[in-house]
Amino acid sequence: MGTDADDFDDVLSRARSGDETAFMRLWDHLHPRLLRYLRVLGCDETDDVASETWLQAVRDLSRFDGGADDFRGWLFGIGRHRAIDASRSRIRSRHRLLTAAVVPVAEPSPVEDEVLDGLSTRQAVAMVAGLSRDQAEVVALRIIAGLDTAAVAGILGKSPGAVRVALHRGLRTLSADPRVRALEEVDQ
């Protein structure tokens, strides 16, 4: 699905009225981004949390009132709450995961090559996850979720100014990361 707002609004409207094709277009477009956002949050069970998020979204879809941007903010807000619930119910240490040493593979092997070939999006998500918690979440919501500053501020309970500052600092940190340069070379 494209990101054109009118198209999104039309698809959203049809999904709300029970059109499964329209709903699955929403899902195709937003589910991968929801998974990446949850990974940035350090969620251990992203598939389960994302499933719970969509379950709640489907359940409450008929009561949802808003446009494309509102829907994205609503969906990712649900995802954030579900991720927080999951983290509370399972003792885990995001800090430990985020600071775990990245061990280079000693020499290439077929199975590792398979990973590296398709790693760019995963690696990009991991880089964002490596930022400070505030910066990582702002970068993820602004870029991955595609939310505007006001929506991100609403979800995080921060001022728009604080969101902009966190975004700038996060992007600056990422820009200085040599892996971002390497990623650019891979993409080219």
Partner: protein, 336 residues
């Protein structure tokens, strides 16, 4: 950076390297990311088919709220409300002393109860085709209710199912009730056990040795059928390491005794704080799958396996296994 800094244009950042990062973060979904599509579609269809459940739940909550607002707190305190409504009142007001008359799985609630459940693997049984659940007898109170103490249990473990029979909110004792089971991957429903309601209209079944997902319902002869309860069985999965030949490789073996031969296990490696998919193998007849990995020249690498959910079991993840540098795997003592 000050708080009045302007929003950057994320579609065209000044730094071309960041544009590459943005493209990667917003790329179309991968096959892995979209793997849950069929399940989501099924969930959406199911939600469209069963709007009455939602109305029913809302009506129950509304009923509880109405009772409370109308002075039903006193009734709740004395456990005089219909059992489902009493249970909701307990959930809402338990902290201030409202009792719960329904405690799923609580042995104290089943005095004199008798039930028969085969403790061995399911034998061929009479196949029954349950009729659609009847309408609740009193409009907001279901006749026959089945609940599970836990809806996710370890493979080979025991599910505890409890039910109560209360037409029009009034418990009925001495009624024979059948527990029906529909095991994942098998056609039809079969009788898994029978029981007789006690003086509270309660009955309970421990269902041992569950090794695959299953749905359960209650049925009264010539009467109502309860809504189904779905139990997810979670198999254990372990990952072990054996030194390989040559010493620069190691063999990681995943074992999932309660999974099925042919199920897929996914090997993941921890990198950058995130678990990445390395590859996948299917479990053999011994419920095992092996992966050959490189032993790092220095430090260690953490691996784990994920057993994705299937129709017959839930998802499971092994504990991490660290593959240490070649020197350590050859048994040399690490320097203090």
């Amino acid at each position: 950076v000050s708080a009045d800094v302007p929003d950057p244009d994320l579609t065209e950042l000044a730094d071309p390297a960041l544009n590459g990062l943005v493209r990667a973060l917003t790329a179309n979904g991968t096959a892995d990311e979209l793997a849950g599509r069929p399940a989501t579609l099924a969930m959406f269809r199911d939600s469209r088919r069963r709007p009455h459940r939602r109305r029913f739940a809302v009506s129950l909550i509304s009923a509880a709220a109405a009772v409370v607002l109308a002075g039903g707190i006193a009734a709740a305190y004395t456990a005089a409300l219909p059992r489902p409504v009493q249970h909701i009142a307990y959930r809402m007001l338990g902290s201030i002393g409202v009792p719960d008359t329904h405690r799923p799985g609580s042995p104290a609630r089943m005095p004199g109860f008798t039930a028969t459940i085969p403790a061995t693997a399911p034998a061929p049984a009479t196949t029954v085709r349950p009729r659609p659940a009847g309408r609740p007898g009193a409009g907001t109170v279901p006749d026959l209710v089945l609940v599970a103490a836990q809806t996710r249990i370890p493979a080979g473990g025991q599910a505890v199912l409890s039910g109560w029979l209360a037409p029009a909110g009034r418990p009925e004792a001495g009624i024979r009730v059948r527990l029906l089971e529909h095991a994942a991957g098998r056609p039809g429903w079969r009788v898994a056990g029978t029981g007789v309601t006690d003086g509270h209209g309660d009955m309970s079944w421990p269902v041992p040795d569950l090794t695959s997902n299953a749905s359960f319902r209650l049925m009264v002869r010539g009467g109502a059928v309860s809504s189904p309860v779905f139990i997810t069985v979670v198999p254990s999965v372990t990952l072990g390491l054996a030194a390989g030949q040559p010493p620069s490789v190691g063999t990681l073996t995943a074992r999932a005794p309660f999974a099925q031969a042919g199920d897929v296990v996914v090997l993941q490696v921890l990198s950058g704080g995130v678990w990445h998919r390395l590859g996948e193998h299917v479990l053999d007849r011994e419920h095992q799958a092996s992966f050959t990995v490189l032993v790092p020249a220095s430090g260690d690498v953490a691996y784990r396996v994920v057993l994705p959910r299937t129709a017959t079991h839930g998802a499971a993840v092994s504990g991490p296994v660290r593959v240490a540098a070649a020197r350590a795997t050859r048994g040399r003592r690490a320097p203090p």
